[in-house]
Symmetry: D2
Subunit: 400 residues, 4 copies
């Protein structure tokens, strides 16, 4: 094994590179979770996190993974036997569906090809067909981490509205929040599910539910037995800056710092940065002569790019070569994409030269694996160098 | 407010003082949770944690609080409508019962005075009366964090055995694990519930279930809808050093270091240390002329001591005075003990001079609040100074 | 050996307990010492440190120990063969004299009993006798770390002035700066020597020279060959926020944070805190029936207390017992005080309960060593509890 | 200004990227520098550092910059008025000469073109001419940080030997130690000067002198007044694991960890890694169509590469553009090279993708500054990808 030196390139689409500021913020002694210092911390964090979800409604924070936050969304807002509409956008869409089924929900699962987002017109059609309004919720993954394909949340919201359907709208933003534009209130989402370890730049360990008044009202009628995930006890205790049980104090230290960092940079600048790096990555993929998994440019993800190899090339072998020789982790192909796809995470605490190093690592890996390829690095560098000025101008024109 | 300088005295009975070694171990970059470095970490931690629970069976680790681990125990091993035997040992025993009821279990709740542990003979009597074996589980809190009273787990096990009853035996060790002797296998426990933020010396954020073969077998028949908490997927993924969803990587870094520290000191030495500090604390309480909440010496907790004030003295006012003037957090009286009791945590990463400072802070607080008191500090110092040698001899005679 | 758990009590009179805020501030990546980010840091630190020395003149910061800063003071302001007046206040006063001699200065060394500070009237007398003004400098240690005795700097300044003598006035504040009142400008000091590891709450590694215009003017005539220590190159480079050689960047991160902490608490509150803890310590010593090394109450140190044992008691054995059994480091007796004296540091990032724990450790050590003693802890606690209110009132009356 | 996100690329030739392991090791509380725990630390470090200098003789560690260690070497081994031979290899060679002159040494300064190392045959000639052996020392900078040119130490040693000259041989390895092969004993060096902030991967703040018996013997006759730098007191105190004054404890924590890291990787692997990255960098420079400052391939530095721009291109403007737009620090042209040269540091805790990102940053900067250039990145990637296997084979053939 070549010696390990320097920093690992963690280019999976999450967990992402945790900034030193966040790690150091977490590296302070735990405090009394029932005392005044904790209360001040909690109130600051609970207020700040709303600006990230762009909501004025409560955001419930769990000690859990994003998967836990998925479960929390389901067991609060729904009841066993409820009908819900879900979509086969990829591996995570399928996993969420599987969870829903295990919990006893009746899932209408709209099949997909793992290369497109949810089709708003299909949502409209399906809801219009549901004349008795038996469907309780429409559940969409904003950014499919397994495919690098996004779904157009505002258009889906519009579709639900056009259908005049009362279903709750629940959106998973685990790998988009803090990386791509997202607006819980403006887009009329009832439950937004988030996690700490992607655009929020924290280690894994916190899950989030932003919940609308309509969702909370629905939760009053939920028949799921639950305790840990129950929204209302948490929302009630949060008013005073507390939790009904021991919260993950040190993760909250980190969250405070991460929110500060996002606000210092400004969310608009954060989104512009992700867009620029994603475009550079796509240009590299095209110049390599490889295929983007995502087929619809309107649905390109800015958090990650999934790259489809040619039929006889092995993506996992490529990843192993790159990990072994260049100390870089890339995302694997999940489920039906296994061995065909690798994923490049370009989200979180990231900059142009880290991206350049990442793409160089991929290109050297292609070379070492004898995978036919052009010069993607040059294409990416051209875009990065060419957009420095535009990037600035755009930022300058963003309202403060 | 007097200026804040020096280290806060965090003398609540958890979260406890996180050692620098653990904080620094957590302050490393998050790694790929699907890669070989993670797998090596996970396998080391999953093996090591068994030595703390003293079990050869799987220990399931959740990203959650201890409350989450309570829920996990219930929804895996039981089904809605199951009858369970629970005990009013204090606030946490009552909370666990409340959770069980919310989840749809039928709880037979044995009333208690919050000053004694579970009575093994009563367990035997109740189980003998259950001739049809309708009771599915006996649930006991090993160390009631609200009262400083322990329950005698081996004697309760013996009582269940004498009754010849097949109920599962489930024990909460959240505030005893790593501080007081506990033996999952030898004591015949089916599910042991733990948390990270007490004797394990970590920040809050991890919950544990040690599970016997009998418990796993029972889980096959469980009718609870569940996903996040489900044992079997986790146990299966753990075999390769992974989790079915994103684990709390940085907490696992800390757990590895904490296990190392406990093993370096040796669990026997850790327990002897806790016993010595607890006895010194009790001697201080007696010398102050105050009352121990725990009435049965066999049931004294070595993690914390709950102190009962005289009728007209206000424990919360005392705590506030001490926090304001001496920057020390003490545990509040919970539930029916509110205002009557304060709790001194003396567990985790702790030593004789930290205890001495703690007791001095209490004594000065008593003085400032004009609560009549003798010289508890001197009594404690006498015990601490007098047991240095005995402590060593005892340790020397412990088998390696 | 008893197991090590909890925090070490570092009660030597420096290095002192480095606050977590300072350690974490230092735990950031080193930056380019010729770039704009460094320049901003340096200018902030160079401005801030002046408020600690209470000077408007330059403060030169070295990568060195305090001993290095001693040497810097001598080789900049003086020339080989120069006559200087120095005082046997204790071990450090003697060491500084030895350094001066080695460097080729002619030292008139005024003998002392290691239990008093410098006598201002003797300074006056000696300077008056020097009618030809051959003495180039008067060098005084403000706070003798080996004895816990201070010298009265303003009175010595007045003595020099009364004598009408032009000698430079050079003061070592290594163990007083940031703990006791000190005013470089107002007290007319020409060179103030400081170190990072005491009241400044940093690890060792930075030395300081605050230099008056008169000192800089004298330095123009210095005949010492020197390079690393040379003031003028550093002062010139500092104007732009740089150093002539690579500075100790991470220590400067820590210094910025330490200055912020001192300013947040306010120097007046810092000094009041040290005075209160020192008085509590002295009361403990008296109640133990032991002797303070310092014989003159006007000269008591607020940073540390040196305690003289009775003739046949062994202070180093006491220290070893306390270290072994209670994991506390105390200061040893230096030079002629070896074995007779131990020193308690009560400076830096410190609070009442840390002091209480410290004194309990000493008292238990006395007990274990069978050194006859009364109850010093109670005396200290009485003072600490009794001064909470007064302390606040005093602070309230301090002008902002 | 574009927003700052991700990690800064610190590609100056030192201070270098401090590994997280080293930063975290330094982030522990300071301990008593006169106690047994410190002694154990010091003895471990003092032994370990010898393996890095490849010496069995003492290595003196100072709290200082490398400049301080230069001064220490001079004032210990020499006396005012001594004649020494020094070489104009670049900025640092010139600075060291300036220091020597200021300290009162008589320097014979051999002029150079800043593009070659010291010529061994010239050394021989000059020493042969010194028939009376008036020259007391030959001082050489092993790796000129300002030029990226090394001097061939073993050949210079051989030249001295051929001349039969008794002069001391003193070598500055500040920017080579821990990055390029260096052997204090085998190469017959009398004083080797080092610093912490380059190949040793620490923050700045420690200086080193490895000293031969001959150098120590010479030091007995030194007439320089000195105290802080004096070898013998330090060497004597080091025997017990102590220093005569307060050492930089937390830096020593870091040094222990850095030595461990270098030994884990093995020095041979460390040197091979630096050689590989340096060669990739030189290939990039050539492919850009730019000139290496170093004219002699045998003298190429593996720590850094200095790149000479064409006459009308401005290196400082290029550096500013790169810093502003890509958050990367490069080394400036020093002295006569100002504006003509920029320097790429590729030493310390560094890997192939960090180098790739670095070179991409330079290439984009060239593009933005309209400096004519070819595709250096591709040339570097080709070398990096092509040497993975060779690198392994070479390492495998290295004796353990």
């Amino acid at each position: 094994m070549p010696s390990i030196s320097g920093r690992h390139f963690l280019q999976i689409p999450g967990p992402t590179n945790v900034p030193d500021r966040v790690l150091r913020a977490m590296d302070f002694p735990t405090i009394d979770h029932r005392g005044p210092a904790f209360s001040a911390l909690a109130l600051e964090v609970l207020t700040g996190i709303k600006t990230i979800f762009k909501t004025s409604e409560p955001v419930v924070i769990y000690g859990s993974s994003g998967t836990g936050a998925w479960e929390a969304a389901l067991v609060n807002a729904l009841s066993p036997g409820d009908r819900v509409l879900m979509f086969e956008t990829g591996w995570f869409g399928s996993l969420w569906r599987e969870m829903a089924s295990r919990l006893g929900l009746q899932v209408e699962f709209v099949p997909g090809d793992w290369r497109h987002g949810v089709d708003p017109s299909e949502v409209e059609k399906l809801l219009l067909a549901d004349t008795e309004h038996g469907i309780r919720a429409v559940l969409v993954v904003h950014n499919e981490t397994s495919t690098g394909v996004t779904s157009r949340i505002p258009e889906i919201r519009a579709a639900i509205d056009r259908a005049g359907h009362p279903a709750l709208f629940m959106v998973d933003t685990i790998s988009s929040l803090g990386s791509m534009d997202y607006r819980h209130d403006e887009w009329g989402v009832d439950v937004t599910v988030g996690g700490s370890q992607k655009g929020l730049m924290l280690p894994p360990g916190l899950g989030f539910n932003a919940v609308s008044a309509k969702a909370r009202e629905a939760a009053q009628r939920s028949k799921f037995g639950k305790s840990y995930w129950s929204w209302e006890e948490i929302i009630a205790a949060n008013k005073g800056g507390f939790w009904p049980y021991t919260p993950s104090t040190n993760m909250l230290y980190g969250l405070r710092e991460a929110i500060n960092m996002l606000q210092e940079e400004s969310l608009d600048a954060v989104f512009a940065r992700h867009a620029r790096f994603a475009e550079a990555t796509r240009r590299a993929v095209k110049a390599w002569g490889l295929e983007l998994l995502c087929l619809e440019p309107l649905e390109y993800s800015n958090s990650l790019t999934a790259v489809l190899l040619r039929e006889h090339d092995d993506a996992d072998q490529l990843r192993a070569t790159i990990l072994e020789n260049f100390d870089m982790s890339l995302g694997t192909g999940l489920g039906r994409l296994k061995g065909r796809v690798f994923r490049i995470g370009h989200l979180g605490d990231f900059n142009a030269l880290m991206l350049a190093g990442t793409l160089c690592g991929v290109q050297m890996g292609l070379e070492m694996q004898s995978i036919r390829h052009g010069d993607g690095v040059s294409a990416a560098l051209e875009h990065l160098a060419g957009t420095v000025r535009r990037n600035r101008t755009e930022l300058a024109s963003v309202p403060a």
